[in-house]
């Protein structure tokens, strides 16, 4: 397949690449659809071929050739080492402590990495009813390391969540379209900016007074190999 590696790097691509770099060979990760799936599949095709993809639909060790559009895509079952029921997935595998890394996203995040994917506004009379927590509340506490992928804006990075869906205790990194935040003394702190982004822009996109590390670095732009593999990944049916 011919892939253009010269086109500019998009924000989504930068996020996926930056997240994928944090997955090690042998890491067992609980993957959702969208960017997490892209990141994990990129890692598996580059530096971490032994990275194990677990989807909450019950597929363990899935090796999709195309990116799934839903966590229940048939190819996930066809290529998995094992397919288990959903109750077994949550009891034996997630709660059982078998998963290293879980990816989460949300509509809102606060400075402690707590997430809201439930409602905007009041729970009983919401302005916007969001899909809800799904697997997130337990993923957030049962995996060793939570990675968050979320575009940065004052609407998403808020001083006060409208609703706390999941806790930030195990959040190790938040990769956004602007940079990378990591917890320092329980507060998410900007530790890196993507190429071309300055710290002020990240502050402006954050709804709280953002802590910034003394040694903010610039993230490595995607390598040619990363871009090539990333752009060759195709979402099924899209």
């Amino acid at each position: 397949m011919s892939v253009d590696v010269q086109a500019p790097v998009s924000a989504d691509e930068m996020m996926a690449v930056e997240a994928s770099r944090r997955l090690r060979d042998g890491t067992v990760c609980f993957v959702g659809i969208g960017l997490p799936s892209v990141a994990a599949n990129l890692a598996r095709r580059t530096h971490a071929p032994g990275c194990v993809l677990v989807y909450e639909s019950g597929t363990i060790g899935a090796k999709p050739t195309e990116l799934p559009l839903s966590i229940g895509d048939g190819e996930l079952a066809d290529t998995a080492d094992a397919v288990v029921s959903v109750p077994e997935m949550f009891a034996y595998w997630l709660q059982g402590g078998r998963i290293d890394v879980g990816f989460l996203s949300a509509a809102q995040i606060d400075r402690h990495g707590n997430l809201n994917s439930t409602v905007i506004g009041d729970y009983a009379h919401p302005d916007v009813r969001l899909p809800g927590g799904g697997g997130a509340p337990e993923i957030a506490l049962d995996v060793a390391d939570v990675f968050i992928l979320l575009r940065q804006s004052p609407r998403a990075f808020v001083e006060q969540l409208d609703f706390t869906t999941s806790l930030g205790d195990n959040v190790r990194v938040v990769v956004t379209d602007l940079g990378v935040l990591e917890p320092r003394d329980r507060e998410l702190t900007l530790v890196a900016v993507h190429p071309g982004i300055d710290v002020e822009r990240v502050r402006a996109a954050t709804g709280w007074s953002l802590a910034v590390a003394d040694d903010v670095r610039e993230t490595e732009p995607p390598t040619e190999l990363e871009l090539q593999v990333l752009r060759a990944l195709r979402t099924k049916g899209r």
Partner: protein, 284 residues
């Protein structure tokens, strides 16, 4: 075992107004055809249970068939919101919808407890966050270690409804691929309905397949294509375009109602539903 009937008969006999019904399917094998038949027969005041309500629950809610929704993730997978669910919750249209919200882990434990004839399920869950104060969850203390764990009340639906690939002539039901919580749904429920893609003489063993014996399934009805827009592994693919299109259909109340009238209420069964969708696609 004599559990083979038409879907219309199954719904007429087994599902009543006010029932708690669980149409389960974790992105795969969603029993959409049964949802449509519930609407054709005008079932009302249903309590709908499902981990991942998607298009068919959006349809039931938008048509006013549901009084309450028990769920853990209500969205259009890979696309976004469920517009009819949102309209019911945000604006009470066509009438208010009571929510009982859980996490996936809590829902799964509740189904497993129901299947096991236990009154509650135990999990390490509902720790912190705002949901525990707003839903049916309690704590139990381990009598050996003193640890506190979450308890969820068992799901015991009146009717458990699933779609599967096949049944044999004795009524044994076989499904494979992503298994979801379907076995638990059938075993937790007082009554159960399975629609299938085909009925065969013998169920040859398949890797990854489970079989629900005829004597735990009250009605087996043929409904080829009955999982649309979901898929039946080995039979047909997920209609990803339909999920995207549903966003537009469901966004507007009138468009939604016209669509439901044309493709569901004015069709007699799953065959006519598919013919109606095909006719519309041709006309475009």
């Amino acid at each position: 075992m004599g559990n083979a009937v038409t879907l219309a008969e199954a719904v007429r006999e087994l599902v009543h107004d006010g029932d708690t019904v669980a149409l389960e399917g974790f992105t795969h094998l969603i029993p959409s055809a049964v949802g449509h038949e519930l609407l054709r027969q005008g079932r009302r005041d249903l309590t709908l249970v499902r981990m991942t309500p998607d298009v068919v629950y959006d349809q039931l809610i938008g048509m006013g068939a549901a009084r309450k929704l028990v769920f853990s993730w209500g969205g259009n997978p890979g696309v976004g919101s469920l517009r009819r669910l949102r309209d019911a919750v945000e604006h009470g249209w066509p009438h208010p919808l009571e929510l009982e919200e859980h996490s996936h882990a809590g829902m799964a434990a509740a189904y497993a407890a129901g299947a096991a004839n236990l009154p509650f399920g135990v999990l390490r869950g509902y720790r912190g966050g705002d949901l525990p104060g707003l839903t049916r969850v309690a704590t139990v203390t381990c009598p050996f270690t003193g640890e506190e764990l979450a308890a969820v009340p068992a799901h015991r639906p009146d009717v458990g409804i699933i779609h599967a690939q096949r049944a044999d002539r004795r009524g044994n039901v076989q499904l494979w691929g992503i298994l979801g919580v379907q076995k638990e749904t059938v075993l937790a429920s007082a009554r159960s309905i399975a629609t299938v893609e085909e009925i065969v003489d013998e169920l040859d063993p398949r890797p990854g397949a489970i079989v629900l014996p005829a004597w735990v399934v009250d009605a087996v009805a043929l409904a080829p294509g009955g999982a649309h827009p979901s898929y039946a592994h080995g039979y047909y693919d997920r209609d990803n375009e339909f999920y995207v299109a549903w966003e537009e259909i469901a966004r507007d109340r009138d468009v939604f109602q016209a669509w439901m009238q044309r493709h569901v209420l004015d069709t007699a069964d799953i065959g006519e539903y598919h013919a109606s969708l095909a006719a519309e696609a041709l006309a475009v």
